[in-house]
Symmetry: C2
Subunit: 188 residues, 2 copies
């Protein structure tokens, strides 16, 4: 499976050593490491997703570890994150059903595949990251409003007016976000 590796001299891959990756895999991995950093996730998460995206067959833990030259810790953590985001799924349904039908069954490793449907990815991103964020902000806005009320006597009425209008603007943003985002999630 490995194309002739070890680029050796010539083009030293600079930032991304990509030791065990084909050029194609390396390119795709780069696409996703970049995307993932835009989203504020660790690079390793992008590498793992990128590798799975660039690979037709499912991969197991150990292959990911080897091809990307990552530690077990990173792979474990990265797979967990991607699983939680719904960006990867086990290739084999959880079935135990077939029974213990062979002698050479060692507890086989989970084989992972990338979820490549944009709607699913965006959907869970919204659900997992934006929605909790908005919840947090709602709390904060409430607190801010109360602080403003408490401060009232200390402000000129002109300032108060302005600040009130800004706060209400913020609340509008919030409201818009918390109605629009779930909607988008549904629409995808």
């Amino acid at each position: 499976m490995s194309t002739t590796p070890s680029i050796s001299a010539g083009q030293t891959a600079p930032v991304t050593p990509s030791p065990q990756l084909t050029p194609f895999e390396a390119q795709v991995v780069e696409v996703f490491t970049d995307l993932v950093q835009l989203l504020g996730l660790p690079k390793s998460v992008g590498e793992i997703y990128g590798l799975l995206f660039a690979t037709a067959e499912p991969l197991v833990f150990a292959e990911i570890e080897r091809k990307l030259d990552l530690s077990k810790g990173s792979v474990s953590q990265g797979l967990r994150t991607l699983r939680e985001l719904g960006a990867i799924i086990p290739a084999d349904p959880e079935l135990d059903l077939g029974g213990t039908h062979s002698g050479l069954e060692t507890p086989r490793a989970t084989r992972w595949v990338a979820v490549v449907e944009l709607r699913r990815l965006l959907g869970s991103l919204l659900r997992e990251r934006l929605v909790p964020y908005i919840k947090r902000q709602d709390q904060r806005m409430l607190a801010a409003t109360q602080s403003l009320i408490a401060a009232e006597p200390d402000l000129t009425s002109a300032s108060l007016k302005i600040l009130q209008s800004r706060l209400s603007k913020l609340e509008t943003w919030q409201a818009r976000a918390s109605t629009v985002l779930p909607l988008i999630g549904k629409m995808l």
Copy 2:
């Protein structure tokens, strides 16, 4: 090191010192530090914008520095970022027009105000961050496609099919993004 932060004797304010801020200001600042970290910008940028958002009158460099207890460097860098994002503007139009009509004019400091219109903020965020990002990704996708073509002989035709379909899916994402985002920008 420090497993436990070792509270020791210091009465130094802990995580959120907010030394010179009213409770209201502190709350609003928190809202924006959080938002800004979601966007992958430095915290200080959120603090500065939050302070300006929470203040009815324009503020000058020195006041920001003092109220947020930031270094000159951070304030300068933060103001620059916010300016570039179109999130703040000078309160006083750049006018020199009136002429040098007074004797007590020291080179006055720029007074900054927050831009509070969501559409403007989102618009420039799209323009300044997402659009350049998409440009970069376009490049990468091209490279990836070429790599795949180059690798063709090394792949089973089944794998090749799958990878080609994934790539084209990626390209679709890209295309959608690069048409939809500018559109959104306009619509705001």
